[in-house]
Amino acid sequence: MSGVHLEMRGVRKRFDALNVLADVTLSVHPGEFVSVLGPSGTGKSTILKLLTGALKPDSGEILLNGKPLSESKRPFAFMPQRDALMPWRKIIDNATLGLEVQGVKRAKARQRVAPLFAEFGLEGFEQHYPAQLSGGMRQRAALMRTIAQDKAMLLLDEPFGALDALTRTQMQHWLQSMREKHGWTVLLITHDVREAVLLSDRIYLLTGRPARMKQEISVPLPRPRGSVPSPEASAIESDILKTLLQPKAHKA
């Protein structure tokens, strides 16, 4: 995966009467892990949809290595909020979806994704349908489908939001170790403060309606980060919580 530099500047988006994004400005540098953190309904998923082409911004710029997004082929592999596995495809064929869209023959695509199964803890489940898998396994399958596309940047929309707390913690650490190993460039969407602090190099706080980037936070903690947050990590967490829970009265 070659590096790619993403920049969003002053991006706005409204749905008819609903003004969702007032001013989204963010950047992701090659090799970086960046999170957008905010409460539900603030427009986090909308940001990713602007990047994947499902929606168009009303104004503002989206730049890839300095060039407008519309002029380049999208270098993103997107993992939607709900896993969006195709119920009629077996896990192996869900994993090959991106390659098949790119025109790779199914047999060839299967050969290419087969080695991923062991790494994603899905060995032996190639021939299962999504309905036969647990929630955690489905999320891993969805992430595998994302990785298999072999794109420069991963866009992950609350990948573990639907999981129980224990499975979610396991998956977060698993993602951390996978990221260490492969050096993916990631833009992660989450509403989970601890998740953001555990995984990110930088965090953007998104708040308000319409939503703005309220604050940018660096997380200069060494890796790998442990399953019990260090005092430094806890301090960052409580700072973020304070900002998010602050009454918004004085802004109006």
Binding site: T52, F78, A84, P87, G124, P130, A131
Partner: protein, 266 residues
């Protein structure tokens, strides 16, 4: 860890589920048989079930030839309508305004009474296969078109957005997401339409034909043979059930994942 392949559908549980229905039907026939025996009613008014079965066996050669004609009309008519419904559904899916142009006209075709249309079509197109195919198609085309169009529209937005994120062109989104999403709707439409199809074929034959269960029923009625009318009814019901069963079987074999989701919901 679940390592099982999707289970093949158990025929035994299916049979056990069917026991109450079989019992109810058997009870009904027993009561009918008993009534005919006790009342001594003439078989030219109400023949006993045993007589109907005996007549069915005795006239099996004639019934078979006529049934074959009806099957031919049903299958050709249904195949024509399926092909047309699929083509139109794809056109509508790729070009939305077509739906608004076509649906009102098609809904009107569904309001036409079969009793009036069947003789007219026979009058215009003769006693051959063509009018039967047309009538079967007329009755089944619209339900199948609606099933397909609604099925495409049921595709999850998440899946489409995912494919868009992969830079999939429109026709790939159709093939990879919209078409498979429509399969359950398609089969639901198929199950309903196949029963209409047989009825429509018989109706068309009744209005005028050289061969077929419809014309067989008409002749039996004109000869005061209610036992033979009922023999033809027995055969046509069996035929409809067989076609219905075949569709259920095809659905089970071709969409194994829907059963897994059902298992989970339990």
């Amino acid at each position: 860890m679940p390592r099982s392949e999707p289970k093949s559908h158990g025929l035994m549980p299916m049979f056990i589920n069917a026991i109450p229905a079989i019992g109810a039907v058997a009870g009904l026939f027993l009561a009918w048989e008993a009534y005919v025996l006790i009342s001594g009613i003439s078989p030219t008014t109400l023949p006993a079930p045993s007589r109907v079965v005996a007549q069915t066996v005795e006239h099996r050669a004639a019934l078979a030839t006529n049934t074959l004609a009806t099957i031919r009309a049903t299958v050709f008519g249904f195949a024509t309508s399926l092909t047309a419904a699929f083509l139109f559904s794809v056109l509508i899916d790729f070009y939305g305004p077509l739906r608004r142009a076509l649906f009102p006209v098609l809904i009107i075709t569904q309001t036409l009474p079969l009793v009036a249309i069947a003789p007219l079509i026979v009058l215009w197109f003769g006693f051959g296969l063509t009018p039967k195919i047309m009538l079967v198609a007329l009755v089944t085309f619209f339900p199948m078109l609606v099933a397909l169009v609604e099925g495409y529209r049921s595709t999850s937005k998440d899946l489409e957005d995912l494919l868009v994120s992969m830079n999939a062109p429109r026709h790939k989104i159709f093939l990879m997401a919209r078409l498979p999403s429509a399969l359950p709707y398609f089969f639901a439409g198929l199950r309903i339409s196949i029963t209409y199809a047989v009825v429509a074929a018989i109706f068309a034959e009744y209005a005028g034909a050289v061969q077929g269960l419809g014309i067989y029923i008409l002749n039996a009625k004109n000869n005061f043979r209610p036992d033979l009318v009922l023999a033809a009814v027995l055969v046509s019901s069996t035929l409809t059930l067989a076609l219905f069963g075949a569709i259920v079987l095809i659905q089970r074999l071709s969409t194994p994942w829907t059963r897994l989701e059902g298992d989970k919901a339990k």
